[in-house]
Every structure is written in C-alpha cells, then in structure tokens.
C-alpha cells in the first residue's frame, strides 16, 4: 500500500448493506481496495467512540451503511445512528477533522452494483480530500 492511499472504514449493517457487499463479491463487482468493512448487527449499535477510535487509529474516512428509514430490523437503530453521526460530526469539527469525512448512507437495495457504486463514490470524495492532516505546526 502506498503512503498516500486513503484508509477507509465502513461499518455495515448486516441486514441490507452487508448483504450488498456479499453480493458485490458474488456479482464480481469491482470496488475500491482501500475500504475495510466491519459488520455490525445494526447501525444502532455504533457509538461515537467507535467512529472517533477509527480516526484516532488512522482512518481518513468513515462510512456508516445502514438500512432504509422505516426498514431497520430493530425499529429505530438507524434513526438513532443518524443522531450519533450528527453529534460525532460536531466532535470531529472541533478536533480539526473535516466532518465530511464521516457519512451515513441508508441502503434500499441489496444488489452488489449499488453497494460498489456508493462505496466508490465515497472513496473518491475522501481521495480528493487527501489524508487527515499530519503535518506538525506547533
């Protein structure tokens, strides 16, 4: 891996997007090699600390992939996660990390091509932003 390559974490709910990721494999869809997918039972399980720790450990972007609104298997997990993401974006902003590096996407489809294209779009965005700044100016 190149030093300039972005490192991207995707927290994917196992009910919709993770099936999409599985299908992407079955359909032999190509998507960016810079992402690492972490399967979660529901996006409602994700806390700000999971996201902050990802950035602390060197992530340049974090995408949270959940089920469509009204379609969460635990009723309001995704709605709760939307709030968590809002709060975490604020925390990132106050830590010198662009809040755009964090995104939540709710998936309606389980097909591989949808998953691949959404992931690729996110990776493109993060590539444009570059790595989280590391130069020292103190």
């Amino acid at each position: 891996m190149n030093k300039k390559d972005p490192e991207i974490i995707i927290f994917a709910c196992e009910w919709t997007p993770y099936i999409g990721a599985d299908n992407a494999g079955v359909e032999m869809q190509q998507y960016s090699p810079f992402v690492r997918i972490i399967r979660v039972i529901c996006t409602g399980q994700i806390t700000p600390s999971n996201i902050l720790t990802a950035f602390k450990n060197g992530a340049d972007g974090v995408m949270i992939a959940g089920c469509e609104e009204g379609d969460c298997h635990y009723i309001v997990g995704n709605e709760k996660c939307i709030k968590v993401v809002e709060e975490t974006k604020q925390l990132l902003k106050f830590s010198g990390i662009e809040p755009e590096r964090l995104e939540i996407k709710l998936f309606t489809e389980v097909d591989g091509s949808t998953f691949a294209s959404i992931v690729n779009k996110f990776v493109m965005k993060i590539r444009k932003m570059g790595k989280v700044q590391t130069e020292v100016s103190s």
Partner: protein
Amino acid sequence: MNIEKIIDDTKAYFCIECGICTGSCPISRIDSNFSPRLMVENLLLGEEDDVIRSKKLWSCLTCKACSSRCPASVDFNQFIMRSRIEAKLLGENGTCTHAGTLKAMMELQTTEFFRKSKEWIPENFKVTDRGKFYYFVGCLPFFNIIFKDINVKSIDIAVSALKIFNFFGIEPVISENERCCGHDHYWIGEFDVFKTLAEYNLKTINNSGAEVVFFTCPEGYNMFKEVYPLYFGKLDFECVYLPNFVNEKLRDGDFSFLETEDKVTYQDPCRLGRFMGIYEEPRNLIQNIPGIVFKDMPRNRANSLCCGSSNWINCTSVNKLIQVERLKEAENTGAETLITGCPKCEIHLNCALFDRDNNYNIRIKDITTLIAEKLGGK
C-alpha cells in the same frame, strides 16, 4: 506485580483498621459491599485478586473523602490509581460511561493531527496566539456537544472566562494545539495516554511564551499544579484558578459586582477542595455579590459530598443516589441556585436534575459563569 511497591508508596501498612474510610465513603454508604478498608486489608494480607480483579476497584470516585480523614495517612487515592494500573495490565477495566465517547474523545487528542477548534470563541472577544497569559480551555467544547441533551452548555464557562479576561484588560492565549489535561486517564490507570497528553500540553504552553496559565476546571488545575511536576519537574509557568484571580482583584478593590437577587449555596468540587484546599475564595466571591443570599449545605468544605461520579467510569444507580442526596441537601438550604466550581459537577448534578422522576426547584451554575454575569464597574 508491584503490590509491595503500592503498599510502600501509599503507606498502606500504617492502616490501623479503624474503618473511618469506609464510614466516610459516599459509595459505601449506599453500596455496603464496597469498602476501602477491606481493599487495604486485602492487599496487605496478600489477597490481591480481591482488589485488583474486583469490579469494585472501578467504583471508587477518587474523591479523597477517605484519605483526608484517615488517622494513619494512608493515601487511598494513590492506592486506587496504582491498583488500577496493575489491573489494566491484567486486562481488567471499568465500564465506560456514555458508551466510551469521552474516553475516545480524549484518546483522539493523543494524535499528532488533532487541533482544537477555536470556533466557539464569539467574535467580539479579544484573544491572541502568543503572550504572557494563557487560558487552558480543556474539554469544555466537547462537553458542550456531548451533554447538550441534558441542557448543559459547558462552553458558557469558557465564554465567561473570556469575558472576565477582557474585562480586566487581558488578552489570553488560546491554542489549537492544546489537549485534554489527561486527568481521567491518569486516574483510571492509563498512564501512557496521560503522559502523551501532558507532553503535548507542556510543549504548547511553553511555545506560547506564557508565564501564567489560567484554569476554570479544577481537574486541569490540579493536574498541572500537583501531578505534572511529579513527572515533568518544575513547570516554567504559574498555574492559577481563574476565580481565585478574580478574588484577588476584588480584595484589591479593582471592581465591584452588580446587584442581584438570588439564593445560593456552594458545592466544593473534590479537586478544588480536598485536593487543593481552596474553600474560602469561591465563598468570598459569592458573598461579595450584593443582594445574594448565601447558605452553606450541612456537609461543606472538607466534608463536602462528591457530585457522584468521576473519570467517566462506573456510573450506576449508586452514583445517581449520591447526586439525588446532594441535590436534596442543596434544596434544603432554601437555595434556588447551586454554585459549583467544576464543569464536571455541573454535568453530573444536571444529569440527576434532568431525571424527571424527581421535581427539583434548583438549578446549577458554574462559579466562572456567575462571576462573568455579575461583573460590574471598575
């Protein structure tokens, strides 16, 4: 394991088994299974697993109510902190409150790229990048985001501090490179994180040319004043708790307070009171506000009751009961406002206040905010 060293350094061997610690401990009063005396005994008797491996190790508030009364001068706070370091090595852990958000937020500050945004500073305030006076903002901007759900606006404290500085003609240095003081990691036994944070802070402050560093948070104040020097030697600057500075100005007759109508009481934060011995300055400030009615709670100064939680670990119904007890005590003085000197007391007591099972007629206010509101003519 360094058990013997812990016993040596904390003078645990002096323990006379009087039980004053357990009798003084706010946790023991509610949870009879928790006993500082037993922890000391167990370690002395070689039953270290009963201490190091026990979940109770993480319930201690490190409030110093025990050690401040111990007739044998056993340093129970150090005892807990050091035991936690050993416990961490064995993979033991406390339960993080707030789903670990605060802990992760502090650990994010150990990275090189972290920059604390100054976006919270309102336009009309004067601050600078280099100078003699430095204001340590600490975690206030983050608390402000995390605790907005329980109606706590921690950033008001920082804005109030700026108002006070500018009122006295000071343009304080505020730095993006500042980190959390490391207080919580220090007390939960994660020494490395504490050390990294402290090193960043010392570098930042030394580079700013500061001679005096002001604090509005007693935890940061205590860390800089008493803990940093233990590990980094004498600091190149002076540490001042901002209300103390205002108190001196008041004594010198440099300004006066505006008239107000309020009935208040005061909560001694453990870091400020039992740790640093600052009891009278905040009271003096409050009592000098014309029109204010001040009444102390029955448990005050060194006997003050902790706000019920610290270090962002192990907050349970026990802690909530301590807070409820304290709020009732405050209300019984007839006060309408409970003044505290610590942003964390403000958060914890507000959390209990927010609980709609009880109806309280009291609100919580930080002393820095109170001062800024009532600053009058020079």
